[in-house]
Assembly symmetry: C2
Amino acid sequence: MLNAKQEVGRYNTESSNTTVCQTMTPESIKVACSNCNLRELCMPVGLSSEELQKLDHVVATRRKVKQGGHLFSSGDAFTTLYAIRTGYFKTCMLSEDGREQVTGFQMAGEIIGLDGIVSDHHNCNAIALEDAEVCVMPFETIEELSREVPVLQRHVHKIMSREIVRENGVMMLLGNMRAEERLAAFLLNLVQRLHARGFSKSELVLRMTREEIGSYLGMKLETVSRTFSKFSDEGIIEVKQRNVKILNPDALKTLYNPQKL
Amino acid sequence: MLNAKQEVGRYNTESSNTTVCQTMTPESIKVACSNCNLRELCMPVGLSSEELQKLDHVVATRRKVKQGGHLFSSGDAFTTLYAIRTGYFKTCMLSEDGREQVTGFQMAGEIIGLDGIVSDHHNCNAIALEDAEVCVMPFETIEELSREVPVLQRHVHKIMSREIVRENGVMMLLGNMRAEERLAAFLLNLVQRLHARGFSKSELVLRMTREEIGSYLGMKLETVSRTFSKFSDEGIIEVKQRNVKILNPDALKTLYNPQKL
DNA sequence: AAAACTCCTTGATGTACGTCAAACAGATAA
DNA sequence: TTATCTGTTTGACGTACATCAAGGAGTTTT
């Protein structure tokens, strides 16, 4: 049964009680982080209600991006970070001669745009893999509030550090691992993140093409496909187009983390 | 003539005038950033003298690390960042089954340890490639001062963003480029950074083995060696052990950035 | 409902790089 | 001086993955 429950996650994006604060206009309610059920993913925990209210000002507005649309492009001026509310993104770089490298796949609750800080310009493209909505968080505002709210400051640092560590892991994958190990790691990482969002531990719907997976993992789409087929033949997973069911997670973990001989 | 001038850089690590401030004890002078000629590399520019003095407190102490010694190891508790004063480091991860991935090479003026912020523990090893000295900068202090000095706050964000962008570039190398392109990019990056430190644009001394280069670039030491030899045969570089002289930088750039066809 | 897409799968063949192995070059030690 | 080490080079050969090619499966267009 490949009926992945990814479409009907346990999170509503808005709390059921939308009238917590009587003085709020519908508009301000709409962008209130304190009201958002994704908060625990993008915001620090353990804030006082006063701090929480301050942080509501981090999100200036929302923005919708159609499937295939660019949230930002390489070269664009950097002014804001984005928190993904719904939908999936990929970030990718293009080399001079047109080769594409996918540098990450991002999902709800994750922060996108950190690459722009260093030079005030983005140097990758962020493209929606399906219709998406993001919270626009002007970086100036984030910095101002970080100075007043140490918990937020620490949170911002952690988010950036997490990205550095994630990329370290990808370097390990690309530099040292074989195709099977890479794909195993990729699948395990995806379900783990989906699980943290209330989805199944074993079923997932891929939002990206084989080619995009391949670009991320440094292999060709044919190799991705063959490796999926191999896992399927071995009874480790069940693949039906973009629906994947993990039948034997331990086998994947062993592939990814072989024992020291 | 492969007489690389890397040993005798134009920077003295201490300003010649060590008695700027009469009230300073020799100890406090020793760790004063305001006094350090590497400042422009690790510290923000455009600080008032008051701010500059505040920032002197960022560096708690100095620490020497012998060649081959660990500045920190994977699993160590994270409390401080380090600014490299002298010497070279590599950072590397070890997979379960013992494969090593070098994630970066760091030189004077660069900041090391950012990977530890997210989990309060380091998850890579930082190893000195030669006898080295670092400035110990407790992260708590950095955060405190960042709240007071916006320029420092921005600087910290930029350093982390720069690391993210660097790793994006490495992902592109590992995922899309061939051995020659990787090594060309590696050499160009090294001389560029050395040049920013006052060294030659064309001559450099490698601080790492072929195996370490290979680990960073996702190739075996034999391939690194062969590619060096190939460049040498083609008159692009001159190699004598770890001394490298770049004879034709444009050829390297073309290799790294081939024209769109 | 056929046409035209895009995306995916699978087979046959090619190749860049890895593996194995031997020899060499400097550096340090005996 | 010779001996021992570590790091490097180079050759012969093997392989994991890329490339090329054809067909299939959904999806959208006409």
